[in-house]
Each structure stands twice: as structure tokens, then as C-alpha cells.
């Protein structure tokens, strides 16, 4: 009878360890808060070109992540990109005239939306639009412009 008890305790510890491993995988390795809707409020920004920006790219302010991109779409009439930004609720003091630009982390890194705070007393609220935006720098266009400039220079 004693042996059975030891065996059962061993199996119990084994199963508990297995479940603990899965809980660790779920909580520590993945970002479980992203599973549902991010808390916070949504603002919209329009860009001429968003480059490689994707849903769930980070939104940062002064280099700190304050939210995520939750939607990327094209305005069917104006043909500009409409990007929905979900900002975390504790950053609710962002001025209304904040500007947004699509930036790249490092030379080859992923693209993200950088916010630069303005000075207006009113703050951004759910559903507001960021008016001042700057598009992504597309490397091919810059190189193309540079080459074109060189060519006209030498004439």
C-alpha cells in the first residue's frame, strides 16, 4: 500500500510539473494580454505610404511602447493608408496636435509608428484622428531620387 502511495505522489508531481510548464509557456513566453482586445483607446492616422507597417506593429513615444497598430486599411476614395492605433489607457494625456511618423528600428529592423508630442492643451480621445503624419521612408524611392538628382546635376 505504501508503494502505491509513493507511486501516486510521483505521478501527481509529474502531472503538476507538466501543467506548470504549460502555464509558463502560456504566460511567460507569449504575451497573453494580446490575446483579447488590448485595453485603451483607438486613434486613427492617415499616411501616404506606410512601408512595411503591419497589424500589431508597436506604437512608441520617445522610444517607449505606448500601444499597437490594430488595423491597416486603404481609404477607398483618397487612396491613402488608414492606420488604427490602439493606445494603452494610462497614456491618456497625449496632446491633440501630436504627430505620427512611420519609422524603422535600425537599418533592417521592423517598422513602427513613432508619436511626437505636440503642445496643445486638448488631449487625444477615442476615435480622434492624428492630422500631422509623416510617411515611411521607402529606400528605393530615396535611392531613385538621389540617382535622378545626380543625373540632372551632371548635365
Amino acid at each position: 500500500m505504501r508503494n502505491t502511495k509513493i507511486l501516486e505522489v510521483g505521478v501527481g508531481v509529474f502531472v503538476a510539473l507538466g501543467i506548470a510548464a504549460f502555464i509558463m509557456l502560456a504566460l511567460q513566453v507569449t504575451d497573453i494580454s494580446r490575446f483579447g482586445d488590448d485595453p485603451g483607446y483607438t486613434v486613427v492616422a492617415r499616411f501616404d505610404n506606410i512601408g512595411g507597417l503591419k497589424v500589431r506593429s508597436p506604437v512608441t513615444m520617445a522610444g517607449v511602447r505606448v500601444g499597437r497598430v490594430v488595423g491597416v486599411d486603404v481609404d477607398p476614395e483618397a487612396f491613402v493608408a488608414v492606420v488604427k492605433l490602439r493606445i494603452l489607457p494610462r497614456f491618456d494625456q497625449i496632446p491633440e496636435d501630436t504627430s505620427a511618423s512611420v519609422l524603422t528600428s535600425g537599418l533592417l529592423g521592423e517598422q513602427y509608428v513613432g508619436l511626437e508630442a505636440g503642445g496643445a492643451p486638448e488631449v487625444l480621445k477615442d476615435g480622434d484622428e492624428i492630422i500631422l503624419t509623416q510617411s515611411a521612408l521607402v529606400l528605393e524611392q530615396i535611392v531613385g531620387q538621389f540617382l535622378f538628382g545626380k543625373a540632372t546635376e551632371s548635365e
Binding site: T4, L7, E8, G10, V11, V13, F14, V15, L17, G18, I19, A20, A21, F22, M24, L25, A26, Q28, V29, T30, D31, I32, F35, P58, G106, L108
Partner: protein, 271 residues
């Protein structure tokens, strides 16, 4: 006379040999299917006797813990070292966390745990059942009106299906910790970046559930069916049992690797 005994290497003989082999393997496959169905049929009765399953979880699961934990740790540490060496050239060593975690969660965790399980527990299952058959324990059970499918095969199969996903989860978790020790402890990757990069790339449903849970469940079913059936189907001699044990390890390893390709193509192929 001797020449007739060996058979002339004529076209008909070659074809006959081929046909005999094909029929034999088809017959084995069919017996395997019937065996699997009968074993599944015996599984519900285990609700009344959970003690049988607990005992088998101990022998296939708890006793496999040391090999799983140690190899998980070393696999994770090697991944940390190799990943760092590659990533540091691009100045991207902060991505080490996501590289280690994605490799382990999607592929190495379930696959290596399944291969180790096939070697450690699958072979033991086959040998045990094969010897039970060779020493006529199975026949004597049937004599006493004890159904070996309910008493012997189903508990081992169910225990294996429970144990392998748990082992794969532990392997993956320990491997990630091993990568963390090497990356953050020895090589000086930033602690916060290691975890945050990992958390921003690893998805709960797409990576952890698909990778560790579903893959290792599929591997567990395949390995345990092969192991129990090979034991049941083994010729009741010492040579037969030894061959069946070898076949279990070889076939279930091949099945795991092949199935892994199919599952990966289904899960991650169209991204």
C-alpha cells in the same frame, strides 16, 4: 532440387516475392488498425479503474523525466549559443529570445521529446508486452476472462498519450530556460529584451497550442500505437521481441519525423 527450392530468378518469381511482401505489410497494417480500434474500445472502461493508468503514467512518464529535463536543458543551451553567434553578426542578439522560443515551441520541443520518448518509453512498452506474450501471460489472462485490451493495452496507450504532451511541455519550458541562462547569464543579452522580444513574437494559439500541444498529442498517439502493437504482434521468441523493440524505435521515429513535416506544412505552411 536445390535450384527449385530457391526459385529461379524469373520474372514470375520476382513478382510473386513482391506480391507476398505487399500482402504481408498490408495484412500487418490491417491488423494494426483493428488492434487500434479494439484498444480505443477498451479505453472507456478505464474510468472505473484509473489506478491502472496512474501506474503506467509513472513508468512511461515519471521515469522519463530525467532524460527529458537534461536533454531539454542542453538543447536550449546549445540553441542559445548558436543563435547568439549567428545573430550577433547582425547586431540582432536581442532577438535571441524569440529565436530560441520559436525553434523550441514550434519544432524541437515536441519532436525531440517524442524521439526521446520513443527510445526511452516506447521500446520499454514493446519489450514488456512482447515478453508478456512470449511467457503466455496474455493467454492466461484471456483464460481467466480478463480482457488484455482493457487490462494491459488500453492503460498503457492512454498513459502514454497523457504523458508525452506533458513531457514535451516540460522539455520546451526547460529548453527556453537553458537558452536564457546561456544568452542572458553568459553572453550578456539584455534580460528585458530577451523576454519582451520572445513575448512579442510567440503566439499562444498559433505557436504554443499548435506547436507543443497538438503536435505532441499526434506524436503520442502514433508512438504509443506503434509501441503497443509491435509488442502484441511480436513473435513469441527472444529474437522476435528484440526485433519488435528495434522496429518500434525505428518506425516511431520515422513516423514522428514524417508526421512533423505534414503537421508543419498544415500549420505554418501557408503563412
Amino acid at each position: 532440387m536445390r535450384r527449385i527450392y530457391w526459385g529461379a530468378p524469373s520474372m514470375a518469381n520476382v513478382l510473386a516475392l513482391l506480391g507476398r511482401r505487399a500482402l504481408a505489410s498490408l495484412g500487418r497494417l490491417g491488423r494494426g488498425q483493428l488492434f487500434f480500434l479494439r484498444m480505443i474500445g477498451g479505453a472507456p472502461s478505464l474510468v472505473l479503474r484509473p489506478g491502472l493508468v496512474v501506474k503506467e503514467v509513472h513508468s512511461v512518464g515519471v521515469l522519463s523525466l530525467p532524460i527529458i529535463v537534461v536533454s531539454g536543458l542542453f538543447v536550449g543551451m546549445v540553441l542559445g549559443l548558436q543563435g547568439y553567434n549567428t545573430l550577433v553578426d547582425f547586431g540582432a542578439e536581442e532577438s535571441l529570445g524569440s529565436a530560441v522560443a520559436l525553434t523550441l515551441v514550434r519544432e524541437l520541443g515536441p519532436v525531440v521529446a517524442a524521439l526521446l520518448y520513443a527510445g526511452r518509453a516506447g521500446s520499454a512498452l514493446t519489450a514488456e508486452i512482447g515478453l508478456m506474450k512470449a511467457t503466455e501471460q496474455l493467454s492466461s489472462m484471456e483464460m481467466m476472462a480478463v480482457d488484455p485490451f482493457r487490462r494491459v493495452f488500453a492503460p498503457r496507450f492512454v498513459a502514454g498519450v497523457i504523458a508525452l504532451p506533458l513531457l514535451a511541455g516540460m522539455f520546451t519550458a526547460i529548453g527556453i530556460l537553458g537558452g536564457y541562462f546561456v544568452g542572458v547569464g553568459f553572453l550578456g543579452v539584455d534580460d528585458g529584451a530577451f523576454w519582451s522580444q520572445m513575448q512579442s513574437t510567440v503566439e499562444l494559439r498559433e505557436d504554443v497550442i499548435n506547436g507543443v500541444v497538438i503536435k505532441s498529442l499526434a506524436f503520442a498517439v502514433v508512438i504509443n500505437v506503434i509501441a503497443v502493437f509491435e509488442g502484441f504482434d511480436a513473435p513469441p521468441t527472444s529474437e522476435g521481441v528484440s526485433r519488435a523493440t528495434t522496429r518500434t524505435v525505428v518506425n516511431s521515429s520515422l513516423a514522428v519525423l514524417g508526421l512533423d513535416f505534414v503537421l508543419t506544412a498544415l500549420m505554418f505552411g501557408d503563412v
